[in-house]
Symmetry: C2
Subunit: 150 residues, 2 copies
């Protein structure tokens, strides 16, 4: 089944803000972001620990990480005017859901992209925040090509 | 990237209980279950409303639905002994994550399976609980073939 019909209204008069401020898209994107990061972190920790332990973790991405990633990627113009931190995080989630629904990136492609762009010691909370922010910034810059220019 | 290495410890001495009681698997499965149900519900509501509205919704599946689905599928023997409702729901999530990691079902296949097995008026809360329970029961019965027999 092709899911693009679920965004056909947004594609009708496709604008950056219509996509970036869609609440339903943000809710579904929240699921995509958290699942993708959980699996990416599990892969990264499993591949980068000395004693070859297998690590499976379910990890919610903090809104702060997504908010800063959107700013760092210079993509605040996808969010609503006078957006607060929560709105900016929602915009990131909506954009990622849009790209997934558009079939531009599969879930596994999003996971693999995050794994490749993660680094450092993710068991250290501060380092994790810094490096997860970088990975999500990179992801946003990458998906910009799939989003409308205005 | 193939993710099966993330369950290689479980495949080493593969038992029903080892998979069904794995906490990390349950956490990742929680994300898979909620995302899959959100998209499945969005598709179902979009295809079954008279005025052709597009509906995107992010919906957490209640633990109660998963608990009863596991019982209805006669798969309580995948959970720990004296499991409470929360443990049983965790087992469902772990089993679905295991099947996803094993590459037996993709996320889209899980979504499509749920869509095909949903019915009724999902805007009515009681009817939704009843019919979502049926869809998850069907999914569990279907994935049983991919799980160890003992």
């Amino acid at each position: 089944m092709d899911y693009e019909f679920l965004i056909s209204d947004l594609n009708h008069c496709k604008t950056r803000k219509a996509i970036g401020t869609d609440k339903g898209l943000a809710k579904i994107g929240d699921g995509i972001v958290n699942l993708a990061y959980s699996v990416a972190k599990s892969i990264f920790l499993t591949k980068n620990n000395l004693n070859e332990n297998i690590i499976r973790t379910g990890k919610k991405v903090s809104k702060k990480i997504l908010e800063i990633a959107l700013k760092n990627a210079n993509m605040k113009n996808f969010a609503k005017n006078r957006a607060d931190a929560h709105d900016l995080a929602d915009t990131v989630e909506a954009l990622i859901a849009y790209v997934w629904f558009s079939d531009k990136m599969t879930l596994k492609e999003i996971i693999n992209f995050l794994v490749e762009n993660l680094s450092g010691d993710l068991n250290d909370r501060n380092e994790e925040i810094k490096n997860a922010t970088i990975a999500f910034t990179d992801l946003l810059i990458y998906i910009k090509q799939f989003l409308p220019e205005k």
